[in-house]
């Protein structure tokens, strides 16, 4: 069988994992560098992918398709399109950087990097899988390494956090599985083919059932996003997870929820997406737009009250993921492009934020916002980078999040103006908690307790600089990514809109 580029990207980390397992457990250096090497290839291939990706081609590219279980028509079917390409790149990038962010790990080094590489395979696989069964396998595959990575290498309450994460996400997957099976059995012959299933099941499932399936899938994905009210695992998981894992969790894992909705809910059940749900509004309105708006505002308000820096960032993630939900609910080119761009941007920015939290935590061993003060005078370079990341998270123009947030809000306005007004108010709230945090931690009189705090070091800068560069470049020249994703996304949005149930109830 011919191994495609995507297969290499997905499974090369596993090879690295195997190599690590063969190394003696005390050989920390070789283990770390092997892990780094194992993530380099996917990164390099993702660059190659970017260069060779044709945004205007309809359908999937770099497809590899082999039969796996012929009896059940299960296939090893992978490919990328405009929806997933950025996510693949993001995964490769963050995995690579996080390996370096993990060099400080001293406990169970071998296990840590082995699991980390397994996690990368799971993430990468989820984004490229085009067979529902394969998708589900990868989806669940991420769960175990994550559980251990949080549970073993996490903070004081790591067990609680790990188990909470585990159970929540597993609960989500359960619903996912039921819906997937239902979809699988509907057409004859049965099919797991994500690219065909939409057409195959469209006329075979009554609309009400489609809506139920849609909601089941949605709940499964919403837990991952995490959408209100399924979000409470996130702050705990983040607070306890080691830095690199927080980065992966927020940077990549959360995206899987929204990616799943785009790929599966929209792709396979477009009719249900705009079917009326309640009060004359559609499913997408209630579950994506309204809930997304709630996420934005609620996450921001909750963030404001946090005293733990990491928790604050975690809540800000909840808030920022709300933009994605709102944007993708609008089905305007701007909205859906903004949503997917926001996925990417949030991935980079939040990764920076968590890395920065990790930097200070490594030195001070706590993250209490009020326990610092005046860091700007002690560690100006670190403060500068933090300020950059904070303002990026605030959506300062010129930085990438601005583009995506504006696109989301602009896209949403046409369809849901009132919600957009509410959502846009978060620009104030976000500025509020971010600046307040900056003020309390970094500005003011330096806290003598931390007068000797070490400045950010080269390795840490190495993990941050590429992200900062991306944030800046995409703020100025977002076309780089918009061009890649836009045709596929617009097609998807049009497809959903075209499939909307014809009668009385419009999308609004």
């Amino acid at each position: 069988m011919q191994l495609g580029v995507l297969t290499w990207m997905v499974f090369f980390p596993v090879l690295g994992m195997a190599a690590i397992l063969l190394l003696p457990s005390r050989a920390h250096g070789p283990i770390r560098w092997t892990a780094a090497a194992a993530t380099v290839l996917p990164l390099a291939l993702s660059a190659w992918l970017l260069a060779h990706f044709d945004p205007h081609a309809a359908g999937f590219q770099f497809v590899q398709r082999n039969t796996w279980i012929p009896a059940y028509r299960i296939e090893y079917f992978v490919g990328v399109d405009g929806v997933s390409i950025t996510m693949v790149v993001l995964t490769a990038l963050l995995s690579f950087l996080c390996i370096f962010a993990s060099f400080g790990i001293e406990k169970g080094v071998k296990g840590y990097f082995a699991l980390f590489l397994l996690l990368e395979t799971g993430m990468m696989g989820t984004f490229v899988a085009l067979d529902l069964f394969l998708f589900y396998v990868f989806w669940e595959l991420m769960l175990l390494p994550m559980y251990f990575l949080i549970g073993i290498w996490g903070g004081p309450r790591r067990e609680y956090a790990a188990i909470k994460f585990f159970l929540y996400t597993l609960l989500g997957s359960v619903l996912l599985l039921v819906a997937l099976l239902y979809l699988y059995f509907t057409p004859s012959p049965h099919s797991f083919d994500m690219t065909q299933l939409g057409a195959l099941v469209r006329d075979k499932i009554p609309l009400e059932v489609q809506v139920v399936l849609w909601i089941a899938l949605f709940v499964g994905f919403a837990i991952k996003i995490p959408a209100f009210p399924f979000h409470t695992w996130l702050p705990d998981a983040h607070v306890e997870a080691p830095t690199a894992i927080s980065v992966i969790l927020a940077g990549v894992l959360l995206k899987m929820g929204t990616y799943g909705i785009l790929r599966i809910n929209y792709g396979i059940l477009p009719t249900a997406t705009l079917a009326p749900l309640w009060g004359g509004h559609s499913v997408a309105f209630w579950l994506l737009a309204a809930l997304g708006t709630l996420n934005i505002v609620y996450g921001a308000v909750c963030a404001m009250a946090q005293s733990d820096l990491k928790k604050l960032v975690a809540y800000s993630s909840i808030s920022h993921m709300g933009y994605v939900m709102l944007g993708m609910a609008a089905f305007t080119p701007q909205g859906i492009n903004g949503a997917v761009l926001q996925m990417f941007n949030h991935g980079t920015i939040t990764a920076m934020l968590f890395l920065l939290v990790g930097v200070v935590y490594d030195r001070a061993h706590h993250r209490d916002i009020d326990g610092f003060g005046g860091l700007a005078s002690i560690v100006p370079l670190y403060t500068g980078v933090t300020g950059f990341a904070f303002f990026a998270a605030m959506g300062l123009p010129g930085l990438s999040a601005f583009i995506s947030e504006v696109l989301v809000l602009l896209g949403a306005w046409q369809v849901y103006p009132a919600l957009t007004v509410v959502a846009a108010s978060a620009v104030v709230l976000t500025a509020g908690y971010m600046l307040w945090t900056l003020q309390r931690m970094y500005l003011g009189q330096p806290n003598p307790k931390y007068a000797g705090l070490a400045e950010i070091n080269g390795r840490e800068l190495f993990t941050l600089a590429p992200l900062a560069a991306i944030v800046l470049v995409l703020g100025i020249y977002p076309t780089l990514i918009l061009n890649l994703q836009s045709p596929a996304l617009v097609r998807l949005a049009d497809q959903v809109r075209a499939a909307a149930p014809p009668p009385q109830v419009a999308a609004r």
């Binding site: 492009n337 076309t479 617009v490």
Partner: protein, 695 residues
């Protein structure tokens, strides 16, 4: 549609300061260490200076162009920025008459302030950082005025906000400075919130007609189609302009979002001069001028703009009367003057508003830099009650300060006189105007004269009230600081002659250059009307002018009586009516306190509540009916455990609990086991019966 003239060099105007900012931001520290502060200062000033020269070049190119071409302006289209769906925005800079004026002000006055700052900030170790920010600000401000689309304008709009934050909290060790910076940014964000909603609405309203765009030149062409549109029962142009105006109130410190500006004086004085007087705060005025065609379609908004402008002017002027901090007075004065500008915009006199913007930039920058010079001389003292008698000790500062004060007071034939009277006249005579607006404006002119001269008298005349040590050190600032003062003072005198009103200049053959220059942008409507009506009303105009000059003079006299002659004693006024009006004014009408209590505290309370809610209720609910299970467990005598553990883990524990109950079936006694068999069989039979209806 005709295309604007392509002129790539225009892009250098903002990009040069950006390059300076980038260089200084990334390499400023080593640069300063290796080559000294001089190199840093030179680099910073050079970029702005070069930008100024390019601005002049662009201006001259515009001058040479035919008026209709001029309206389209010069365009440097760099690269596509956001092209999604019908939204197509490029990174493109455009110079038209309005932005030409603005860039001249920004780079010209900004350049002078840069020069001044090399002296003012000379002892600061973070010298490089200051200039990096200053250059970045210049870039952002230039982007704001040069951007060819509303979205790019917004980039500059937020960008200047960021720089403002960075510069206000520049001396970040002082918590108050950091708080002031945050206040500025957050209050601005409230405005921005409205602003971007305005952008969205405008875009989609046009898109509905097939003209979705945010480019100014296309907006101008297509805006008329919106005339009949309505959203939420409001005419779309009105709603759009209202949203945009919210943004303007934030950026330009109008009611109700003016509160950040006085606090922003926490920044270094050049910053106050550049950002919080001459340039950034006028962005709102610029924006309204830029979108004048749209505001014209929304008379309701214009009326609101005028009223807010007048009210702000009055409110700020009353507060300024009682302030003792030298910069606070100027800050409130700025707010007040900005109110004037909005008053002008509100009555449709875009030209007059922008004209006042320009003249105000000169004299207010001069005043701020002068106050900086004073503070510099006094060793950082800002309280005017500890000054006095500095006229002789600081000759250059004193003289330039007086000139600028006269200009702002509206002393005839100085810059402020022309611009302020243009506004007052428009407020009175414009179709959108009202005699009430004029009256308020005139009253404010009097108040302005009073508090400005109060300041002059308190700072420069009378006995020096500083302690001996300070007095000993008082000295005039170096030339690098005084030269910009003199230049600005000259501007405060001369700038007015760009826009001599028809009633005065017409007979003398002096043309109203300014409004004619802006005509391609703001449209000829008011000029034509004013000119048409002006023929008969020239007398009225002159009469009104005389009234306002008289009122201003009255203000000066009162200030002289109170603060030089000291009879009557100002304290008698302070104590009047039980001191209530004085305390109200002194404490800025308690607006800050009210905002703090209502909005800031409210938000924080809400945040705490939400966090509590999230922790205990959502988590609890999601984890499964907290209360119910807690109740059950209480019955089981496990209350302590539940209370201690909280409801966090309720589902797990609840399941666990049920699990333990289930385990009890496994009694260990075999009879029970056998019972279960029998019950199981009977249960099965019963089930069958119930299903088969015993058949």
């Amino acid at each position: 549609m005709d295309e604007p003239t392509s002129a790539a060099y225009v892009a250098l105007i903002p990009l040069l300061p950006l390059a300076g900012a980038a260089l200084l931001g990334l390499f400023g520290a080593p640069l300063q260490k290796r080559l000294g502060k001089g190199a840093v200062g030179w680099l910073a000033c050079a970029t702005v200076g070069a930008a100024f020269l390019l601005s002049v070049a662009a201006f001259l190119q515009l001058v040479r162009m035919a008026p209709e071409e001029r309206g389209l302006g010069l365009l440097a289209d760099l690269f596509p920025w956001i092209h999604v769906g019908t939204l197509r925005v490029d990174v493109a800079f455009m110079v038209d008459p309005l932005s030409a004026v603005m860039i001249l002000v920004v780079t010209g006055i900004g350049g002078l302030i840069h020069v001044y700052a090399t002296g003012y900030m000379h002892d600061d170790p973070a010298f490089w950082r200051f200039f990096a920010y200053l250059n970045l600000f210049t870039f952002a401000m230039l982007t704001l005025v040069l951007g060819d689309s509303l979205l790019l304008l917004f980039v500059g709009w937020e960008g200047v906000g960021f720089c403002s934050w960075a510069l206000i909290s520049f001396w970040h060790k002082e918590p108050a400075n950091a708080r002031a910076g945050n206040k500025a940014f957050i209050v601005n964000r409230i405005g921005d919130f409205g602003f971007i909603l305005g952008i969205f609405l405008l875009f989609w309203a046009l898109d509905a007609h097939g003209h979705g765009t945010l480019l100014f030149r296309e907006l101008r062409a297509h805006a008329p189609v919106l005339a009949a549109d309505r959203l939420w029962g409001v005419a779309v142009p009105t709603l759009v302009t209202l949203f945009l105006f919210v943004g303007a109130t934030g950026k330009s410190a109008q009611i109700p979002l003016y509160v950040w500006l006085p606090d922003a004086m926490a920044g270094p004085t050049p910053v106050s001069a550049l950002i919080h007087a001459a340039t950034m705060v006028t962005a709102g005025v610029y924006m309204i001028g830029r979108l004048g065609f749209l505001f014209t379609m929304a008379p309701a908004t214009l009326w609101l703009v005028a009223c807010i402008g007048a009210a702000t002017a009055l409110l700020a002027a009353t507060i300024a009367v009682a302030q003792n901090d030298i910069k606070k007075v100027l800050a409130y004065s700025t707010v007040s003057q900005l109110g004037y500008m909005f008053l002008a915009m509100g009555v449709g006199a875009y030209g007059a508003g922008v004209f006042h913007l320009v003249t105000h930039a000169f004299f207010k920058a001069c005043l701020f830099l002068g106050s900086g010079s004073v503070i510099h001389a006094m060793g950082g003292e800002q309280d005017m009650r500890k000054m006095g008698g500095l006229w002789r000790k600081l000759p250059a500062t004193g003289r330039t300060f007086l000139i600028a004060t006269l200009a702002i007071t509206g002393c005839p034939f100085l810059a402020g006189f022309f611009s302020k009277d243009a506004i007052l006249w428009e407020a009175y005579s414009s179709p959108g105007g009202h005699v009430g607006l004029w009256a308020v404006g005139t009253l404010v002119a009097g108040l302005t004269a009073f508090y400005m001269f109060r300041q002059v008298f308190m700072v420069f005349f009378g006995e020096c009230r500083a302690d001996h040590e300070t007095q000993h050190h008082i000295h005039e600032s170096p030339a690098v600081m005084t030269i910009p003062l003199w230049v600005l003072a000259a501007g405060s005198i001369l700038a007015g002659y760009l826009g001599v009103p028809h009633s005065l200049g017409g007979p003398l053959g002096i043309p109203q250059l300014f409004e004619r220059w802006l005509e391609p942008v703001t449209g000829p409507r008011f000029l034509a009307e004013a000119a048409g009506a002006g023929g008969g009303d020239a007398g009225v105009e002159l009469a009104l002018m005389a009234v306002s000059v008289a009122v201003a003079a009255g203000g000066v006299v009162v200030a002289w009586l109170l603060y030089v002659r000291r009879r009557p004693d100002p304290a008698t006024f302070s104590a009047a009516l039980g001191g209530v009006p004085y305390r109200l004014v002194l404490n800025k009408w308690y607006v800050d306190e009210i905002y703090q209590a209502v909005f800031v505290e409210g938000t924080l309370r809400l945040a705490a509540l939400a966090a509590w809610w999230d922790r205990w209720v959502i988590d609890g609910l999601v984890n499964g009916a907290a209360a119910v299970v807690r109740g059950v467990s209480a019955a089981a005598g496990l209350f302590d455990r539940w209370v201690v553990d909280g409801a966090v883990n309720v589902l797990a524990d609840g399941t666990y609990f049920v699990g333990r109950r289930v385990r009890r079936i496994q009694t260990g006694a075999v009879n029970t086991y056998l019972y279960v068999i029998v019950l199981g069989v009977l249960g099965g039979v019963a089930l069958w019966w119930s299903r088969a209806g015993a058949g």
